[in-house]
Amino acid sequence: MSVIELKTQIERKAEEEATKIIENAKQEAERMLSQSSTRMNALRDEQTEALMRMLDTEERAELAVSRMDMKGELLQLRSSWADRVFEETSKRMVEMSQKSGLEYREFLGKLILEGISKIKGNKFIVEANSRDSEAIKKELKTILERGAKIKNQKIELQVKTSSTISSGGVVVSTEDMTQYFNNTLEARLSQARETLSGEIHKIVFKTGV
């Protein structure tokens, strides 16, 4: 082999090797980019799905809180209407007691008789505010007669004025104070609140009447 041929061969081989190296590197780069693209697409899809799930959860939670707040406000509103009914009733009952008309005087008598019927004995103390005490005294004869019928025996009533019974009604107790029946307007309203709140809600919020 001549020197020229040898030189040519050396140059050709070097050229081939260099070309091969570059070609390999390009192929490797292409493979990397292709793999990366596939991986990134998968990752993007995965991330989007995860994000959607997270946003769904966030939205559900936010809307649930929103609905709960609103329901709470509605409940409060319902409750406030029921309160207004009781407040107005209380106001009107007090007005009725202040007027001390016939209907109220009869009512007072019934309150006493109910107290008498609920507790044992035949000697009773009736406590009321000064205005009601006067009214009771006027109706005492009738009350005693009706009380005797209820108890099937003669009864005795002692009417006392109490400053603690401000709104009206009576507290009936035995003479020895061992038994008593609170029939003041306040007590009756409080009892009504316990037993009739449901009914009041039904009436106040009944639609299509």
Binding site: V3, L6, K7, I10, E11, K13, A14, E15, E17, A18, I21, I22, N24, A25, K26, E28, A29, E30, M32, L33, Q35, S36, S37, M40, L43, R44, T48, L51, L55, E58, E59, L63, S66, M70, K71, E73, L74, L77, W81, V85, T89, R92, M93, F107, K110, L113, E114, I150, L185, R188, A192, L196, E199, I200, I203, V204, F205, K206, T207, V209
Partner: protein
């Protein structure tokens, strides 16, 4: 083979070695650039504007739904107040009647 020719061959051998070395360097550079490109791609995912847009759109939708709920409850509140106003007197009358009702 003369000494001069031998020297020329050695020189040529060196030159070709240099050429191959440069080719290797270039190859490394090609692979490095590809790696950098893939890494920047992954980084760009983290601040993907499409996802940002998705979040923004979704927030808007959620706010609209919340407004709708608020409107619905506003309507319910108004209806409730109307009904309660209409039935208020009836409820008071019922309660007074019950309080006046005495069981003997």
């Amino acid at each position: 083979m003369e000494v001069k020719e031998l020297q020329e061959l050695i020189e040529l051998e060196r030159a070709t070695e240099e050429k191959v070395r440069k080719a290797k360097e270039e190859a490394q550079e090609i692979v490095k650039r590809a790696r950098e490109k893939t890494e920047s791609g992954v980084q760009s995912l983290e601040s993907d504007p499409q996802q940002q847009e998705l979040r923004r759109k979704r927030r808007e939708e959620t706010e609209q739904k919340k407004e709708k709920i608020a409107e619905e409850y506003k309507r319910k509140t108004s209806e409730l107040n109307k009904t309660a106003e209409q039935n208020f007197e009836k409820a008071v009358a019922f309660l007074i009647k019950e309080i006046l009702r005495v069981e003997i």
